[in-house]
């Protein structure tokens, strides 16, 4: 599987403004495609159902159900996301190809079992108003979503971004089509359509993985054995996802800001929409992140470790270290720059945009701070990515725990302070995490050779 870096480099080799633009566009589509597609999919289904699915509260119920399922599934699979990817990467490094497929199936099995139990509990106790079909669809959607994240993270770990994009496009097209065809059946019809799309998406990814990593065994649980996965990564994945969603949960379930929608699923009229829109603003940041990290940074990263392993001189090793530092720094600053531009554009254009889609100007200030926060989240991802490359797992863990903890505390404070402060909890927690992350990155980069040589385990 050729990495994305290779593709982007090929485009960049043409060395013109057009090729540069092409490269970034490509990276933007690749990097943001999946989640933009899922947001758009849910939005389109909602729009297409207007006037057909009645009463309108059903559409809201559908959107809130999906949002909650996505949030829960991300947090739940967070435990496996990073740790399992690393487990697979380590096996690939050891050239132990035959364990990959059975353990992937094993990971899916564990995910299905746990998600199934959680889903069944929800279906049994959380939705007394809903019929059996809704509850079954809830369980099914939840389990499939969890498995999708496992498969997605596996494929992105293998740098197979193209396949992910193609499959997401296919999956969400089917989801939209299915939902439109089944909208006659109301809420359950919409959920059924989405389930179909998600199922196709998951099956496609699973088939790709099964065909890419042949094995003579079907299922194994080697990854669950002691010392096979890094505990630090298990918790890092969990904390990151928790950190991203915890403020949303607070706003959903605080009586002043959250409303009851369906069963135990709440929504926050004031908080949800701006953040939803704000996430669309990070597409350029994600593009830069991908180009810088997967091409320049990785190039010097490879050269550095090759020089270490193959007997380069200390000067050359240090030069490569310096190049690595400067590409990492450049990458992070470029993300900041491009997101700053995005923020400025949103600041200027937001009132017009809100008008255009018929949303109250009341949301403006929250949208502004959310756009800043979303931009910071990309920077945070960039820092985390470098930390993972350098295998500084404990720092990554501390940062994500810091982020989750701060987001909890600051969001509570912002709720207490009142509406003018909404969104600041999320933004500030990210800002502090980013600054702390940069500080540690700087510190670790300065002693990289020392740690590489002297502290090898």
């Amino acid at each position: 599987m050729a990495g994305i870096g290779f593709e982007i480099k090929k485009i960049l080799r043409r060395d013109s403004y057009l090729s540069l633009f092409t490269a970034y566009t490509y990276a933007g589509i690749i990097g943001s495609g999946p989640w933009v597609l899922s947001i758009l999919g849910v939005l389109i289904i909602g729009l297409m159902s207007l006037g057909v699915v009645l009463p309108h509260v059903l559409i809201t119920q559908f959107q809130v159900t999906i949002t909650h399922l996505i949030a829960m599934s991300l947090i739940l699979t967070g435990f496996l996301q990073l740790s399992f990817t690393r487990y697979i990467a380590d096996r690939l490094f050891e050239k132990d190809i035959s364990v990959i497929l059975p353990n992937f199936i094993g990971a899916l099995f564990v995910t299905t079992a746990v998600a199934g139990i959680v889903g069944i509990l929800l279906a049994l106790f959380a939705f007394p108003q809903q019929n059996a079909i809704y509850r079954i669809l809830l369980i099914a959607n939840f389990v499939v979503l969890c498995n999708i994240w496992i498969a997605t993270i596996f494929l992105s770990g293998m740098k197979n971004y193209k396949a992910i994009l193609v499959l997401y496009t296919l999956g969400y097209s089917i989801a939209v089509l299915g939902a439109i065809l089944l909208r006659g059946a109301g809420l359950n019809g919409l959920l059924m359509g989405v389930l179909l799309g998600h199922f196709v998406l998951f099956s496609g990814m699973a088939l790709l993985i099964i065909s890419s990593y042949p094995s003579d065994r079907f299922i194994e649980f080697d990854f669950l054995r002691k010392k096979r996965m890094f505990t630090s990564l298990i918790w890092t994945g969990f904390f990151f996802n928790l950190g991203v969603w915890i403020d949303k949960y607070l706003f959903w379930y605080t009586p002043t800001t959250g409303q009851h929608v369906i069963g135990i699923f709440n929504a926050s009229l004031i908080y949800d929409l701006p953040i939803f829109l704000a996430y669309l603003s990070i597409i350029p940041g994600m593009a830069v992140f991908l180009v810088r990290m997967e091409t320049d940074f990785v190039e010097y990263y490879q050269k550095f470790y090759d020089a270490v392993r193959d007997g380069g001189t200390l000067n050359y090793i240090e030069e490569m270290r310096d190049e690595m530092v400067s590409t990492a720094r450049l990458g992070i600053f470029e993300i900041i720059k491009i997101q700053t531009i995005a923020v400025l554009i949103i600041f200027v254009a937001a009132p017009a945009i809100l008008n255009l889609i018929g949303i109250s100007q009341y949301y403006l200030s929250l949208l502004y701070i959310d756009v800043v926060a979303a931009g910071l989240q990309v920077v945070f991802l960039g820092i985390m990515n470098v930390l993972f490359y350098l295998d500084k797992r404990h720092i990554a863990l501390a940062l994500t725990a810091l982020f989750a903890g701060l987001n909890l505390i600051f969001s509570l404070i912002s709720l207490y302070l009142g509406a003018t402060w909404y969104g600041y909890g999320f933004a500030l927690s990210l800002l502090i995490s980013v600054v702390t992350g940069m500080y540690w990155l700087d510190k670790k980069m300065a002693i990289l050779e020392y740690e590489t040589f002297m502290l090898q385990k």
Binding site: G312, I447, M454, Q456
Partner: protein, 501 residues
């Protein structure tokens, strides 16, 4: 197999790669010494490379060995848990000054080492410090930049690590060894370094008895070793320069030797030339003395009676068939000898399994010189049996120390013909004026000169030369090279070290 242990002993023998696991000249000597002094209780500290390199013990332990420890420099040592630490600049300054002394061959090694050993004892410098500290890292990189001519940093780094690993093993042994009244090391190298450490810790006297020349043996090892890399490319390579890592290892062994010489209270050499070399290498002259090996006369005297009246024209090389013994020169010499004395024969008494390739070449050489029926490879033989039947003991070696086989030949009444290596000249012509007055007990020729050797052999075999040489040989060995003399000398060494005089 469980070792005997004790709470204390009189003398701790520090043995690197010899007794009781490896057989050979030095090991036999150690065995001899222990058995000679039943009045002393010995502790044996064996230092090996890796546990798997040794089989069972080759010697039964004498009763007065009350305590045995076996330690291995590689493979059994588990490094401490990886944990970054800042290190300590003051300690590194000490280390740097010691290295500077090593590098310059000027300055006071003992003093620099003493301060370091003190730090080691107090635990201010430990393995974590060396392995994981930032100051150690800075020191290593600084030295790489300053001195390393090989480009590969990772090789340099691991060479430095491999070099220092045994130091921590040694420090641990030194910290845990039972109390004794004196330490006796039979070589410099790691055992000698351990001796220096122990001396530093306890203040008890250290005796060094050198048989071979440790650095020279290591040099030969290093040249034969495949694992030392040389990463210089064609433009960086200066053919006159050895690989930097070889040089580094050599300097390391030399430094270990220096430390041992500085700390040893009594330093013995097997022969005078070796004592001079020790002084050159940093041993204080006033602490050195020569104690040659001695043999058990009683074992060989009876052989004289069994020998034929006329010296048989049989030349015998007693030793392993390996390149260091230069058996090929012995065979080539034989061609000339047989041309002049057709009935002459050459015997080679020694195992051929150590270097089968070389043994093969020797056989081929015999065939190509048409000597197959004249040169006999006897394999391993009892020395007494061989000495009954031969006319001359021949040593064509390119390196020797004090070959016991010459003395054994003398005691059995066989003169010798040798190359000019080690103590051979002194064994043939005598050392002191009184010794020289006994006459020549054979002849010495240049190394790798078969013609000169053949001429000397033919001369020696003539009865008018042979009988005086036999007289001189018997007189020399009985006066200067007996076990009794050696035991007396060592008794003095021990008494002095243990404060009994």
């Amino acid at each position: 197999m469980s070792f005997p242990t004790a709470d204390s002993a009189d003398i701790a023998l520090l043995l690197e790669g010899t007794f009781p696991y490896v057989s050979g000249g030095v090991s036999s000597w150690v065995n001899q010494i222990i058995r000679a002094y039943p009045e002393y209780r010995f502790a044996v500290v064996f230092l090996g490379s890796r546990p798997q390199d040794y089989g069972d013990m080759k010697y039964t332990l004498p009763d007065n060995v009350v305590h045995v420890e076996a330690h291995y420099l590689h493979g059994t040592h588990t490094p401490p848990l990886v944990q970054a630490n800042a290190g300590n600049d003051a300690v590194i300054a000490q280390v740097a000054s010691l290295h500077k002394v090593f590098r310059s061959s000027q300055g006071n090694t003992a003093c620099a080492f003493g301060q370091l050993a003190e730090l080691l004892k107090r635990g201010e410098i430990d393995e974590e410090f060396f392995l994981y500290s930032q100051t150690a890292w800075q020191f290593i990189t600084h030295n790489y930049r300053e001195h390393c001519t090989d480009p590969s940093f990772i090789d340099y780094f691991w060479t430095v690590r491999a070099m220092h690993e045994p130091i921590w093993v040694m420090a641990r042994i030194a910290a845990n060894l039972i109390p004794v009244r004196a330490y006796h090391t039979i070589s410099t190298g790691y055992a000698g370094f351990l001796g220096a450490m122990l001396k530093n810790r306890t203040g008890k006297p250290l005796i060094l008895s050198e048989h071979g020349i440790y650095t020279k043996e290591r040099k030969i090892d290093l040249y034969q070793s495949e694992w030392i890399s040389d990463n210089r490319n064609i433009f960086e390579k200066d053919p006159t320069e050895v690989s930097y890592f070889r040089e580094l290892w050599m300097r390391f062994y030399t430094s270990l030797g220096k430390l041992c010489y500085h700390h040893a209270d009594i330093i013995t050499a097997l022969y005078e030339a070796n004592r001079q070399r020790q002084i050159l290498d940093g041993a204080p002259a006033e602490r050195t003395r020569v104690i040659p090996n001695g043999i058990d006369l009683a074992r060989f005297q009876p052989v004289r009676a069994k020998r034929p009246a006329v010296p048989p024209p049989i030349l015998c090389l007693i030793g392993r068939v390996v390149s260091i013994k230069d058996v090929k020169t012995f065979i080539r010499m034989m061609r000339s000898v047989v041309n002049r004395i057709p009935e002459a024969e050459a015997w080679i008494a020694g195992p051929e399994d150590e270097d089968p390739g070389y043994a093969e070449e020797c056989h081929n050489l015999c065939a190509s010189l048409g000597l197959t029926d004249k040169v006999k490879f006897l394999g391993f033989q009892k020395v007494e049996v061989v000495l009954e039947k031969v006319g001359l003991v021949v040593l064509s070696s390119i390196s020797e120390a004090l070959p016991l086989v010459l003395l054994e030949g003398y005691a059995a009444g066989v003169p010798a013909l040798t190359t000019d290596v080690g103590s051979c000249r002194q064994l043939i012509y005598g050392l002191t004026p009184e010794d020289q007055a006994l006459g020549a007990s054979g002849a010495v020729v240049r190394i790798a000169d078969p013609q000169a050797m053949a001429a000397a052999a033919i001369e020696l075999l003539r009865p008018e030369n042979w009988f005086p040489a036999q007289q001189a040989a018997i007189a020399r060995v009985e006066r200067y090279y007996t076990q009794t003399l050696m035991f007396n000398d060592y008794k003095q060494v021990y008494q002095q070290a243990l404060g009994e005089i």
